[in-house]
């Protein structure tokens, strides 16, 4: 254990001043910036459209930037939808799912990765196979079960079907098997229980993977449309993503500016979360000293 927590430091080959002056570095940066901006173009369109007045959204000639900047769309979205309630519901749903899924998935993944038991491979394949049936096919049976449990239009019903998922188990299992076995075997020789090994050795080392999975789970559920839509027949339980569909007018006409404003507010929490977490998970890798 002690040997492992000791940082395996990498000798700094470059001093900071040398690095900032490196011309190749900046060339690389410039090239990467161009690629990123190109890939970001649709996102930039979304952001800028949110500030366009309705008459400019589909105007010709098209323009990336609004001719006349406006906050009207943001005002409109708050009067069109119970935004606060929807956001809170989204946090409840996506947050709840993420919390449970991280716990349950990591436990199961640990068993599959480390507790060599007969049939673990088969179990893994069965779990992965469950990903292969499209959600559209099981939606109605799932809905029936939740309905039989009396959970329609409740958070329990919204969250329970997602409280563990095959994707997360598979993801964490793949990560756990890449962790060196000497980590836990040393502890095992010392007589540590599996639970202790899981909690104090595997989990701390798996923080980046857990965070990655946490982000995925959160984003996927935050953006999920079909399940909250079908499940929450009562609008009070709707999520922000399902709520935004209400903006669609007759004939499938969407007030795009308002929609983009809504979407922008909806992705803000996700973007901030990722920005914070992506730093954390790089740091945490460095601080465990595993690498």
């Amino acid at each position: 254990m002690t040997a492992l927590t000791q940082p395996r430091t990498i000798p700094a080959t470059n001093t900071r001043s040398k690095r900032t002056r490196d011309p190749v570095r900046w060339l690389y940066f410039a090239a990467f910036l161009v690629v990123t901006v190109a890939l970001m173009l649709p996102v930039i369109i979304i952001v800028l459209t949110a500030f366009k007045p309705a008459s400019e959204v589909n105007a010709f000639p098209p323009s990336l930037f609004p001719h006349q900047w406006t906050f009207a769309n943001f005002k409109a979205i708050f009067s069109a939808l119970p935004f606060g309630r929807l956001i809170a519901n989204s946090f409840g749903f996506a947050g709840g799912v993420t919390l449970f899924a991280l716990m349950f998935d990591s436990l199961a993944a640990y068993a599959l990765a480390r507790l060599d038991f007969r049939g673990s491979k088969i179990l893994l394949i069965v779990i992965i196979a469950s990903l292969m049936i499209p959600f559209q096919a099981t939606l109605i049976p799932i809905y029936k079960i939740v309905s039989d449990l009396g959970w329609v239009n409740t958070f329990a019903g919204l969250i329970a079907p997602r409280a563990a998922d095959a994707f997360g188990i598979f993801f964490l299992r793949q990560f756990f098997i890449s962790l060196p076995r000497d980590l836990d075997n040393a502890a095992r020789i010392d007589g540590a229980s599996e639970w202790r090994i899981f909690r104090s050795i595997i989990l701390p080392n798996a923080v980046p993977a857990l965070m990655t999975l946490g982000i995925f789970t959160f984003v996927n559920n935050w953006n999920d449309l079909l399940w909250p839509l079908v499940f929450t027949t009562d609008q009070k339980m709707g999520t922000i993503t399902s709520g935004l569909t209400l903006l669609t007018g007759p004939g499938g006409i969407i007030p795009q500016g308002i929609m983009m404003a809504g979407a922008l507010i909806a992705i803000l929490p996700l973007a901030i979360m990722f920005l914070l977490v992506q730093r954390r998970f790089i740091e945490s890798v460095a601080s465990t000293g595993l690498k």
């Binding site: 490196d22 459209t49 992965i128 292969m132 559209q136 409280a163 790089i282």
Partner: protein
Amino acid sequence: MTTQQQLQRRRPYRPPGQLGGRTPLNGTFKRRATIVGFLAPALIVLAAFVGWPMISALQLSFTDASGFGTPRFVGFDNYVRIFTNPNIVRAMGNTALYAVLFTPVAIIVALVLALMLNSDRLPFRGFFRSSLFLPFIVSLAVAAFAWSYLLDPQIGLLNYWLQTAGIRIGNVLQDPVLAMPTVVLVAVWKSFGFYMVIFLAGLQDIPKSLYEAAQLDGANGWKRFVHVTFPMLSNTMTFVVIVALIAALQAFDQIYVLTGGGPYRSTETIVMQIYQSGFKDLDLGFASALSYVLLIVTLLLSLVQFLFFGRRGEDTTS
């Protein structure tokens, strides 16, 4: 320490005596209880909300269920209907084409960007990492708007910009040949951030010392990738390939919002047909049967992948 030795060290370590082997671990009651304890929460959820619905769907696939009234048993009728319906057969071809285009492109784009983002030479990595993840977090309806704003043949931004340069890209989403590559492109754009982050997490897991050792051995960038990065990423790669393949074979909503399956059903996929028959035609039995056909095809393809990538991947495990 050389690369080879490092790799060696990461091979499964089997301690001698009673702690390492399989048999004693399986033996005791306590041991079994521990395993059950770890697995139970997830398995209960999966059994209730995935396993049971899958069994229900399997039952439905042999009936004419519509969601209303009492379903009638129809044997293999639904399965026969699948393979005699030209629209479904065409959707299968489209899905296969989509998967063949999407899976490698998405993986390569994600891997290349992840490798670049992982390089010490790139300043402001946090900024890039976050920016490139954005396409994954915007919701589909919004992304569809942005793409149609770009691609619209008459009033689209891209066409307008290119027009001044004398180029016309035309109506790509309504072209029977170009529609599929276009929806693949948009789908890759939407999801590469996801796979990129998985690769990043995997790359974090490769000890830096391996690279340094390789560098000392005189390996150049490409060699380092082939001999260090790629083998060390095999667990991640197995995962990404299978997940991307499953996603590709279940392609639905990103295509649905862009082309609705057109022009002339040329971008219609299997899941689109499942949705259509289940939710529009209220033919749940048929939709379930089609889902099972898809499941079986996906399973077979994944097993092939698993064997192919897994052979090397499992080296680092038991």
